[in-house]
């Protein structure tokens, strides 16, 4: 996944309605009408959100069935979870470096004290 794709996924997830749509789709496929209902949204508004989600690869819409159900695609979400772990690792690495550096500093201080 490239950084641009990742930004697309985050952008898509940044909106509470879109997150709610994804949460609904996690329960199973749904039509645009079914998605609009619980949020009291107009169909064009739902379609607009769905387009963003589709562009981010989070939702696909079947062309086969006449009622064209939407479904959740989990791969990009997994990618995001991986990247969140990545961020945690940055901090883990940084603080491990601090730990090692503190050990070095203490050795130096001890050296200096011993010489005095």
């Amino acid at each position: 996944m490239t950084i641009d794709q990742l930004s697309g996924t985050f952008g898509a997830l940044a909106d509470p309605t879109r997150r709610a749509i994804l949460a609904r789709l996690a329960l199973g496929e749904a039509t645009v009408n079914q998605l609009a209902e619980p949020f009291h949204l107009k169909l064009p508004t739902v379609s607009k959100h769905l387009k963003v989600l589709q562009r981010a690869g989070l939702v696909t819409q079947s062309r086969k069935a006449q009622w064209r159900p939407c479904r959740l695609e989990t791969a990009p979400l997994r990618e995001v979870a991986d990247w969140v772990d990545q961020y945690r690792r940055i901090w883990d690495e940084r603080l491990t470096q601090l730990d090692n550096y503190l050990a070095e500093l203490q050795l130096k201080e001890k050296d200096r004290d011993d010489k005095q």
Binding site: I3, L6, S7, F10, G11, L13, A14, P16, R19, L77, V80, A81, W83, V84, D85, Q86, Y87, R88, R89, I90, W91, D92, E93, R94, L95, T96, Q97, L98, D99, N100, Y101, L102, A103, L105, Q106, E109
Partner: protein, 170 residues
């Protein structure tokens, strides 16, 4: 999303613990085998920070700190490969040496990415625990922060992947 992002689920990564406090707030804790005075110095003096804040792939190239309430700091890291530069900065609100720092943290060029950080150091039996609480202004700010932090980190990871691929293809 995964359950690991739900508030209240503590996760251990290496020696670090991460606890999401809310949608907008997260707390990291990490113990160091050093007295608090030394940890505070290592975290607040430029000559020390340059040794640990960057990574092997993206070492720190600039570090300015004006350690006083209202003073500002600025960190710059530069990728070894490609030379991309990432700058981070903030303002100190409160400094109680050697136990507490309240500051902002933002990614330069992304004014929406601002976070409010409270760093607390406690010492016990010669060991020091760092508690870093970070609060974002909004979900958008949190995601922007995450995105930029990851871009810097991701770049390093891509390099490692590249190295691995180079080794494998030999």
């Amino acid at each position: 999303m995964t359950t690991s992002n739900s508030p209240g689920v503590t996760r251990q990564v290496g020696k670090m613990t991460i606890t999401p406090i809310s949608d907008l707030e997260v707390e990291l804790t990490r113990e160091f085998n050093a007295p608090r005075r030394l940890v505070f110095e290592a975290m607040t003096r430029p000559e020390h920070i340059t040794h640990w804040w960057g990574s092997r792939e993206a070492p720190m190239v600039e570090c300015e700190i004006d350690l006083r309430p209202g003073g500002r700091y600025r960190y710059v890291i530069r990728k070894e490969k490609g030379g991309q530069v990432y700058a981070f900065r903030g303002e100190f609100y409160e400094i109680v040496a050697p136990e507490r720092i309240v500051q902002t943290f933002e990614v330069e060029g992304m004014p929406d990415s601002i976070a409010y950080e409270t760093l607390t150091l406690t010492e016990r039996d010669g060991k020091t625990t760092l508690r870093a609480r970070s609060r974002m202004e909004s979900i958008e700010a949190r995601d922007a922060m995450l995105r930029s932090g990851m871009e810097a980190g991701a770049a390093a990871t891509y390099d490692r992947l590249e190295e691995l691929l180079a080794t494998l293809s030999k």
